[in-house]
Symmetry: C2
Subunit: 90 residues, 2 copies
């Protein structure tokens, strides 16, 4: 069996996105963000946004797909965190 | 000022690696991994490994650099976690 570069990219994308999913589901469900770091999630979300732009620039589908999904998840968590910091002290 | 695709890639790489650094430093310093998920870190570390292979395949320096650094950090955390699970019940 020959594994194409595209397949490697999609395996990588699936694994890193899947590893992020449980945290995203937990946060969206409970809305609890007290143990999450605002600065870490801000850097991460911005970084994923830049990876998405980079994927578009180099026309790489695996990078676009992985970072588009992760961006939605990370931005949701960050939104809950910012809301909680502003209105609920954490 | 014109921002090249390479620059976008390196901004993305710096941001996502930087967002991961505080957790790695904390874990290496304290060796405490109780609140970290074994399955999440296993998926993530494997995913970063595949991104690194993918970067080598498509000869992309930003992807190689970001994932090589993150792989060392993630694998260190995972090693502490597995050690603690095996010998210290967490």
């Amino acid at each position: 069996m020959i594994i194409s570069p595209e397949m490697i990219g999609y395996i990588a994308a699936t694994l890193t996105t899947a590893s992020f999913l449980p945290q995203a589901i937990l946060t969206i469900k409970t809305k609890d963000t007290e143990s999450l770091s605002l600065s870490m999630y801000s850097l991460f979300t911005l970084g994923v946004f830049f990876w998405l732009i980079y994927g578009v620039y180099i026309s790489d589908e695996a990078i676009i797909a992985a970072n588009a999904i992760t961006l939605v998840l990370a931005a949701s968590i960050l939104t809950f965190k910012i809301y909680n910091v502003l209105f609920k002290n954490g």
